[in-house]
């Protein structure tokens, strides 16, 4: 009994540590993205730890405004929802809760912070926020189609829906990225990732110059701090999802063989991989203009989904039943 409690406490501590790490990486990524954008534009740019400073400052604001308790739900749901989604991902092959859920669960868990955020934005009553949420939901509809097509193809190919199993299968065989059909799939999913991360050309939901950062228009102080945490963690979750699907979750050494060294190396590889995936998105962001929302929808449903259908047909014809 005592041992069980100690076990549970240990698990909780590890999970809390991992979530904290996730948030920390998210903040670091924010700084890195701004630094890289600055270097692309031939600027010096802020220090890489700028993300920490910003979040700390937002939570340190002396006064905060709220538009009522529905508005406050946004802060609660967005931080807790994204942390939960992170827990269900295998990180560098290390499974926190990922054996208790699967890809579908992660897709729907990602909707919790999004809907919570939308709830708060709607409750503020600002028309800009409402327009922004509409665009965000529509771009979600747009990028999910090619993404889920590729995911379904992978699930059928690996005959499992559990992300942990997909990562394990890639560790045993080869990374999906190096299978020709899923290399195309990775390109399709990378396009979807661009929309997921709300980077240009798909950043119309938060377009600061048109609708004053859209859903975030009424958020300030600690509310905005919570949303920044959500967005920063979101980059980690979404890039990790991509890395888990196509790059084997960054697993290069087997834990059974190398012990703690494997954990260390895998974590390093995972970090480098999500950084690369994220930086690709940032670089695309820096050179492209912005799509209107119906253009984004048409782009995803016409071109991206077309390639995804090709992958589905490939798997449909190739897999024996």
């Amino acid at each position: 009994m005592v041992m069980e409690i100690v076990d549970i406490l240990e698990k909780i501590l590890i999970l809390a540590g991992m979530v904290t790490l996730g948030f920390a990486i998210g903040m670091l990524f924010n700084g890195i993205a701004r630094k890289v954008s600055a270097r692309i534009q031939n600027r010096v740019g802020p220090p890489v730890y700028q993300g920490f400073i910003d979040v700390f400052k937002l939570f340190g604001k002396k006064t905060n405004i709220s538009h009522g308790w529905i508005f406050d739900l946004a802060a609660l749901f967005s931080v807790s929802g994204i942390a939960l989604a992170f827990l269900f991902l295998p990180v560098a092959g290390y499974s926190m809760l990922s054996t208790d859920g699967d890809l579908f669960l992660i897709l729907y868990l990602l909707a919790i912070p999004a809907l919570g955020f939308a709830l708060g934005a709607g409750a503020s009553g600002n028309p800009n926020a409402a327009v922004g949420v509409m665009r965000a939901l529509m771009s979600m509809l747009a990028y999910e189609l090619p993404l889920v097509m590729v995911m379904v193809a992978m699930m059928v190919y690996y005959n499992t829906t559990s992300l942990a199993n997909i990562v394990a299968a890639q560790a045993n065989m080869q990374w999906a990225f190096f299978i020709p059909i899923f290399f195309i799939g990775a390109l399709v999913a990378d396009m979807a990732l661009q929309g997921m991360l709300m980077e240009k050309p798909f950043d119309i939901p938060i377009a600061p110059h048109e609708i004053a950062t859209g859903p975030m228009v009424e958020f300030g102080g600690k509310h905005l701090g919570a949303l920044m945490l959500y967005k920063m963690m979101g980059t980690v979750v979404e890039t990790t999802l991509f890395v888990d699907l196509f790059l084997g979750g960054g697993v290069v050494l087997s834990v059974a063989q190398y012990g703690w060294l494997a954990y260390l190396v895998n974590f390093a590889v995972w970090f480098v991989l999500i950084l690369i995936v994220f930086l690709i998105a940032v670089m695309i962001d820096n050179v492209l203009p912005r799509f209107r929302i119906e253009q984004a929808l048409k782009f995803y449903w016409k071109y991206d989904a077309l390639i995804a259908i090709f992958i589905l047909i490939w798997i449909f014809a190739g897999v024996k039943i």
């Binding site: 939960l84 208790d100 859920g101 939308a118 009553g125 509809l141």
Partner: protein, 617 residues
Amino acid sequence: MLTEVLVSLLAGVFLVLALNKYPRVAGVVAFIISLLPFMAVLAWAGTMGITVPSYLKFFTLETSLTYNLGPGVIHLAITPLGWFFLMLLASVFPLTVMFANSFVKRNAGGFYAAMLLTMFGSFGLLLSQDILSFFIFWEIMSWSIFALVLRGHDRRAIVSYLAFGSLSAMLILFGFMMLYYKTNTFLFADMHLTATPLTLAALSLLVAGFAVKGALMPMHAWAPHAYSRSEEPFVAFLSGGLSKLGFFGIILFMYGVVGMSVISSWGTFRGVPWFGYALAVIGAFTAFAGTVLAVMQDDLRKLLAYSSIGQLGYIAIGIGIGTPLAMTGALFQALNHTFFKAVLFLAAGAVFYRTGKWKISELGGLGYKMPFTFLAALFAIFALAAIPITSGFAAKWLLYEAAIQKKFLFVTPIMLIAGVGAFLYAFKILYGVFLGEPRYDVKEAPLSQLIPMWLLVLPLVIFLVIPGWFVDITAPILRGYGMQPIQHTLFSINTGLATYNTLAVIFGMLGGLLVAFILYKWKKQEVVPHIDNYLAGEPPELYEHIGMHASSKYFEPFDEVFGPIFKKGAERGWEIVLSAAEILGTGARKIYTGIVGDYSIYVLLFFIILVGWWLLW
């Protein structure tokens, strides 16, 4: 005791009709009688392997009963499938009647009478064991629904329900005739069907007939009108409860009467009988198209009606795939849909009761005015959007898993994208009705409307925490069709592809909420009035007469992209039907000349043919 229950349901019909002058009294009487089916559900729970505490057993019921009615025999018996659907209907029914007490003002006695008669028909239908009684009860149920649709005074709703109701009855009758011709017996149990084309034709007709009630896509056209033009308590029961009877029929005849082995012997496609595959594809199309059409609606009831169509499509997918996983998913989806859609229709009714508006673009800001209605609706919307903090997720998850298990490569993305589409219209309801600028200064809905809503939310929470319990409930149904119930513990389900553990989700969410709450409570805050909004520096007083609610034409880009495809397509389809009806009508007009001589010739001709047929046969 079963006879007494049936008789008291029927007697209740006349009692509330007699009490028409005293609507409140009629409401109370109707509520008391409406509890009878639920008591029956509890009384039968023991035979389904569910232990119910003795203080919840109000009477004991025999499990089967036979009435000899001269020309025919009516066989009634409780089956696991019937019990499950009876449980859904019987739990929604008393609550909608309770809601009606404050909602229905006009000719209340008639309303309650028709509601009770509907329940009487459904009750008998779910128990009937032969095609004769099945058809009789089906017709009682259908016609009493018609009486309730008539109360909406909407011509389109009445005509379309009448047309599709008759079509459905016709299809079912033809199906039954074929079955009887084939087997020469009324009893389901005695029908041992073989894989012949006639069986296939009969089953197709039956499924098409039941699809009308389940609002599957080609047969859905009545639903948006009937759902959106009738009184909300009835619509909640119609959408939540009665629409499931179509799926009850499909499951009963597909897996109960005809059987999986017969269906499979007509040929399979990638491991799934093609009959089921076709049903799944129809279901997926319904789910997608219903969702897209729901996003485009401005009328709250129409939106919910199309959303109903979309969500019911998922059940058809599950039934079509037909594995234990899919069946469990379909039944789970049926249960979820029963409760969340009833809550949503009742919440819409409560909003109308207070504001008198149906259009989403005219509502707004009711979340702070009617917080309990809002919270109930929020829960229902989370269930509808399959967010994993209600039981709505488990059902969709089982269906997705089943589809992946059977390698449904093209159906699964459509299901998933329809799920994402559900977020769109869910937020349209949330923002348009409950969030944003407060436009009405109204009170919270009365208690007699809040209690039903919150009681209906309860199962969504219970089955979120304990999905294993649901699998246990449905296990007898699956065993009856020769399927093994899926692997599960109380809190987790294992499908062989993956595991879903609700405890991990719930405790993870609670932990996350705790941390977020601490972070959030770190600093104080002040609540500002709604008018204090950033509007590019403009003083908000300027916006007082314009309004800041952006809900009219909310998903305009969406309409621009999908509108031409769906609206025009639907219009064209209806035009074809209309012109066909016109041609038929003008043809018929030539026969009905109005001259007595012509009619006598017809009668004569009819008799000649009859006599000639008799002589030649």
